[in-house]
């Protein structure tokens, strides 16, 4: 009996051992085939789509943002209740029922787009209907909240989320992020089981980019360029504002005339012409010839030159002043720049010689790429030596050579910052540790002038905006301005020579002279009627410079009656509050007569009443009258008039 028991027990034991051994073999020992089977059955791959990084201006304001959207598609082969679904979809998406039914009605197709880029709320609503055969794909959409602001530099993103132009293209590798795939266990219903929260928090999103651009200056520059283009019926205009000390691009824009009239122009307006297009800069080049003479020790600001009564014969050609009435006999170097004398600057360039003229212009960055981090930059043309005499003369006043708007602005920045030519750049930082802009990584600023020579040049350029100088209209009340006007003939795009009656009107300068903060270059292409830099571009410069200075924290240097507006405390109490009314009586309307809108609003805001305003200027009447009770009134009305 005992032996039988032992036998049965042994048999069971062996059977159990075999089972345990088999399960150990399956569970513990590595087996590729079984592993794959297990993977297929119990695990799931989750793709976490990356969001393209945002682009911000220097003040952290969004210029380009990516948001998630949901695109709806149908599988007509398995679609249930297509009529009912089409009806509901038509109502929700505001599309035609017939069109939708055509898409979702039973067919052999397995995939048709219904509507792309729906909101999360719409997606939730449609999903709640529970139709089999309707599904969503998560997509991204690039949004530019400021509409067209900085569009030529920002560029665009294609449908596949890849940068196609501008910063979107050049910094695509930082912005695009990467697709993340996570393998997780899933349950019988196919839902992910064990999920590490970090998978969702550590998103593989693209890096954010902070630009050197100041959104407000950018907006003002663009609107002013647009205004001037409209005012002068110009073919276009462009402008660049740089930080005078670092060559950071604060604002860069070009606008086209007649947008919407012809498709080529609209397309051309998407190009960042300030770096992709070159042109003959005209007289804005003259200061660099003068700078060459100063740094070679050939001249000082007060060195006199014989200007031959406004004419100079070079071979068979005669060089004349731009204005026929300017028959100067003798001018100092400073006066040559102030009056923009072609003959005078030709004399200076002859004294300097072609070799030194070329090397000076090269040193200031002409004829070579500035290296800015914007795509499509051109170098401009500065011919190799030897030059003919008339060619040297033409180059000295900005013809027979070409440059970009950015090159000119950057060369002026070298004068403004004390003689260092820096590399302009537009990307300030990327949200990545220890990131340094690649264009600045191994770049050393080039000294083109000594501090002393730079001061002399500032003095010379200040003379341009003094009374009698060509850039008098570039002045900004309160701040000394240095700069130079330019009026260049426009080269024909078909054939040789210049286009008749077509000019490029420009002004380049910096403000304030004593402590340069902004370098501004503006150019108006083919203005109609007026075309001199002094009348078209200089006032435009003044307007932009004035706005920039208002934004800066620099107090006016030149104080005059016009640029000081009295503070509220300095306005006479009689004018401020009127007589005989206790403006502080509780529940009664204070007397705001004579106040500016800002002052009146400041006083009336605590009443928490709706304030209706009519007119502009100072308050001349209020309803209710000063001193009346405001407890029962629904709104306070103010009438303003200009004094």
């Amino acid at each position: 009996m005992k032996s039988r028991i032992v036998l049965v027990f042994s048999l069971f034991l062996i059977a159990w051992l075999v089972l345990i051994g088999r399960s150990l073999y399956l569970q513990v020992l590595p087996n590729e085939k079984l592993g794959q089977l297990e993977d297929r059955q119990f695990s799931q791959k989750i793709s976490i789509e990356s969001h393209r990084g945002s682009v911000f201006d220097r003040n952290g304001k969004e210029l380009a943002v990516t948001v998630s959207t949901y695109s709806l598609f149908a599988d007509p082969k398995i679609m249930e209740s297509p009529r009912k679904a089409a009806k509901q979809l038509a109502h929700e998406l505001r599309l035609s029922y017939a069109k939708l039914y055509k898409l979702v009605k039973p067919s052999d197709k397995r995939f048709v787009w219904i509507q792309r880029h729906l909101s999360f709320e719409q997606k939730e609503k449609i999903q709640a209907w529970g139709y089999r055969g309707l599904a969503f794909v998560e997509e991204s959409k690039r949004i530019y909240p400021n509409e067209g602001l900085l569009k030529t530099s920002l560029g665009v993103v294609g449908r596949n989320g890849k940068g196609l132009e501008g910063i979107e293209l050049l910094y695509d590798k930082y912005l695009k992020g990467s697709k993340k795939e996570v393998r997780v266990q899933r349950d019988a219903r196919g839902r992910p089981l064990v999920v590490d929260a970090r998978h969702f928090i550590d998103q593989p999103d693209g890096k954010d980019i902070y630009l050197t651009i100041d959104g407000e200056i950018q907006y003002f520059l663009e609107s002013e360029l647009r205004r001037v283009v409209d005012e002068y019926s110009a073919a276009g205009a462009m402008g660049v504002v740089l930080d005078a000390q670092t060559s950071e691009i604060l604002s860069i824009a070009n606008v086209e005339g007649g947008i919407g009239e012809d498709a080529t122009r609209v397309q051309a307006s998407n190009r960042n012409k300030t770096v992709t297009d070159f042109f003959e800069p005209g007289s804005t080049i003259k200061p660099f010839i003068a700078a060459g003479a100063i740094r070679e020790g050939l001249a000082l600001p007060n060195t006199e030159y014989d200007c031959g009564g406004g004419k100079l014969k070079i071979g068979r050609r005669v060089i004349r002043e731009a204005d026929a009435s300017h028959g100067f006999d003798k001018l100092t170097l400073a006066e040559i720049i102030a009056h923009s004398s072609n003959v005078g600057i030709t004399k200076v360039s002859f004294q300097l010689g072609q070799k030194r003229v070329r090397s000076t212009l090269r040193d200031f960055g002409f004829g070579e790429s500035s290296g800015v981090d914007l795509p499509g930059e051109v170098e401009g043309i500065l011919h190799s030596l030897p030059w003919k005499a008339h060619q040297l003369s033409n180059i000295s006043f900005g013809h027979a050579m070409t440059s970009t708007a950015l090159q000119i602005a950057n060369a002026y920045a070298a004068i403004a910052n004390g003689g260092l030519l820096r590399r302009p750049f537009i990307v300030k930082s990327v949200t990545e540790e220890n990131w340094v802009n690649p264009v600045l990584r191994n770049y050393k600023p080039r000294r083109v002038l000594t501090e002393e020579q730079s001061k002399m040049m500032k003095l010379i350029l200040s003379g341009v905006t003094s009374r009698g100088g060509t850039g008098y209209s570039a002045r900004v009340n309160g701040y000394p301005v240095a700069g130079k006007t330019g009026t260049a003939q426009k080269v024909k795009t078909d054939g040789r020579g210049y286009k008749k009656g077509a000019y490029l009107s420009s002004f380049a300068g910096f403000i304030p002279v004593n402590e340069p903060r902004y370098v501004i270059y503006v150019m108006v292409d083919e203005p109609q009627g007026e075309y001199y830099g002094a009348t078209v571009a200089a006032p435009l410069f003044s307007s932009i410079a004035q706005f920039a200075m208002r934004k800066s924290d620099l107090a006016p240097v030149l104080i005059s009656k016009e640029n000081v507006v009295k503070k509220l405390s300095e306005v006479s109490p009689k004018k401020r509050f009127g007589e005989g009314v206790n403006h502080s009586a509780k529940g009664h309307l204070p007397n705001v007569l004579g106040m500016s809108l800002r002052e009146a609003m400041h006083i009336l805001m605590p009443f928490e009443k709706k304030i209706k305003i009519a007119g502009k200027g100072r308050v001349v009447r209020s309803w209710p009258d000063p001193g009346d009770s405001v407890e029962k009134v629904k709104q306070i009305r103010l009438k303003l008039e200009v004094e």
Binding site: V67, P145, N146, E147, F200, G215, V476, N563, K567
Partner: protein, 99 residues
């Protein structure tokens, strides 16, 4: 408790401990699943809120864009653009005017 009693209940205690251990393992596994679902839910919520935040930020950027503020200032508040000579700075470190 006598030695005899202890000896008698020892097998039951052992079985109880084994069952308890098994239940604990099952409980822990279920808890892992439950937390997994909870994390998934929170993850989805996190993503949804991030998206919402992104949309609100975009909306804010849209309504505070310079062109709109400028237009509102001119139409609603009847303000005009600063004219020449209206460069006023009443603050700043290098102020030249008496404050």
């Amino acid at each position: 408790m006598s030695r005899k009693t202890v000896r008698e209940i020892r097998p039951f205690v052992s079985v109880f401990i084994i069952i308890l251990a098994l239940f604990s393992v099952v409980f822990v596994k279920m808890e892992v699943r439950r937390v997994g679902y909870s994390v998934l839910k929170q993850g989805r919520m996190y993503k949804r809120l991030t998206d919402k935040n992104r949309k609100l930020v975009t909306k804010y950027a849209r309504i505070t864009r310079s062109s709109r503020v400028n237009q509102l200032a001119m139409t609603k508040l009847t303000l005009t653009r600063a004219k020449r000579g209206q460069v006023i700075q009443m603050y700043g470190t290098k102020i030249a005017l008496r404050q």
